[in-house]
Symmetry: C2
Subunit: 304 residues, 2 copies
């Protein structure tokens, strides 16, 4: 592949930015990759492992002359970073972010950016339970979704160019309205993550069952999921605080529904449970049969 941006600046050097650096360099998609992190320790690690072509101590130097600036900091820090870099951006540069919430990032970032800067918010649906610059690996985004939520007045050529980069590092791109993104993610990721955190906490409180037993015997899929509950606490704190309305909406519906099933169990109402499970089975199967569940687990059959 050929170079898509001559110079890329990564602001924040955690799992996502680290993986982007490795992937862009492996595929030759960026002329130069520059990096900045607030923490001196992170910068030292990034230098030690040679993550970027240059690591800067000053964010204004990091973004200087960059054709693409990637904001890869917790959602709650996006606004401050945008304010800091705004005066130093190259005219015509593209700014994107990798935050898990989109509307609040847009509200925090967009007002700071000068005329002529192309802000194209984004969210790669990829991650592991590890964080920091050492956690990155070039194949993190392979076959993962990378959602872009361009604003209504976005420059189509610039959006297409960013999509080329994202596809170049192996991801599948979709465009989405920011508000819809936040609702979809509240359902598919944010609320499930809160549930996973909660299950890990409950199991730990229980005492009568050991932590080891919890992991050893956890149902397929759910164990992988609790693993994600070891993710960066700051990132997830910010996700919940910044996607508050949608998360509370989904949580409310979820507990309401769960209480109905809990009551059916208490009352011994087998018919209600059977009906509910039959309905969810039909929903889930419909989706499987429609071929939408492409990234299929194989339950150990080893098709892969």
């Amino acid at each position: 592949m050929s170079v898509i941006y001559d110079r890329v600046a990564l602001i924040g050097l955690g799992l996502i930015a680290g993986s982007m650096a490795l992937a862009m360099r492996e595929k030759g998609l960026a002329g130069q990759v520059h990096g900045y992190a607030r923490s001196a320790e992170t910068r030292d690690v990034a230098r030690e492992i040679g993550l970027c072509d240059a690591i800067h101590n000053d964010v204004s130097v990091a973004v200087k002359d960059a054709d693409l600036v990637v904001l890869a900091v917790p959602v709650g820090a996006m606004g401050d970073v945008a304010a800091e870099i705004a005066p130093h951006l190259k005219p015509g540069a593209v700014v994107t972010d990798v935050g898990s919430v989109k509307q609040s990032v847009i509200d925090a970032v967009a007002p700071h950016l000068p005329e002529g800067i192309h802000f194209i918010p984004g969210h790669p649906l990829a991650g592991t339970e590890h964080s920091g610059p050492r956690a990155g690996f070039a194949s993190l985004f392979r076959n993962r979704w990378w959602l872009l939520t361009p604003l209504p007045d976005a420059d189509e050529a610039q959006v297409a160019r960013l999509e080329d980069l994202v596809r170049g590092i192996g991801a599948n791109v979709e465009r989405m309205d920011p508000g819809h993104h936040d609702l979809v993610l509240a359902v598919t990721s944010h609320t499930p993550h809160l549930i996973a955190y909660t299950m890990v906490g409950v199991a730990d409180h229980l005492r009568r069952v050991t932590d080891e037993e919890v992991i050893k015997y956890s149902a397929a899929g759910f164990r992988d999921f609790t693993r994600i509950a070891a993710s960066d606490p700051t990132m997830w704190r910010d996700v919940f605080l910044h996607n508050r309305e949608a998360t509370l909406d989904i949580l409310g519906r979820f507990t309401e529904e769960l209480f109905v099933l809990q009551r059916a169990i208490r009352m011994g109402d087998g018919q209600q449970l059977h009906d509910y499970f039959t309905r969810t089975r039909a929903i889930r199967r419909g989706i499987i049969e429609a071929g939408q569940d492409t990234d299929a687990p194989d339950f150990g059959r080893g098709k892969g």
Copy 2:
């Protein structure tokens, strides 16, 4: 491997029994495998695909002369099946089951079995979202746990022999007290399954997010998990009705804990969220580092 039981009878011919038949025949662990299912359609399918050496229309004929009888029916049906087969069992035969709940199966089955029959309850932690005789595959149990909950007066030689069979078809065996089994499974499987069913139901009610979006963008692990929510409704109804106390206990703790986090989100209490996520991270990491999380997912790194 050599024959462990000359004649095995499988009562119920769903995913688990079907997989056992295929695995035992592949490994030569059983001289003959006989099968019975209540439904004529299931028997016809089992005959058509040649699942067993013989499929019987009469359960009393199926268990005749069997050295091992495997009860592979929903938990709620175990007692009736035990009553039906009891007069026809070969003296000294081993009877096991594959139910997901152990204490209630013991209470339902044990009183029916005559003196001299070795009842050794069991539970393979394996499954897919598919059911019926066509769903079976020989490698289903490979590297999965198979828990045995022998009664205090169990014959050690017979338990060891059943363990040989279970290991022979690829599973890892552990012994557990039945009550403890039911609590551990309430935490690691039953409550999480109820949560997965509930999340699929909530997403479907939502309307503003399509079912396709829910699956497409579901977080790693969680998607696999909702897939399991397409499992057999009768099996899961019986699990909840027969592990009622433990499931309600865990559900109560779970919703209590979830409400604490929900309130922190509503109040914007970032510190509380951060503290909670830091604690669960430490728990989860401790388990990973202790090497207990052996059947590790690879997040697409393709180590496997």
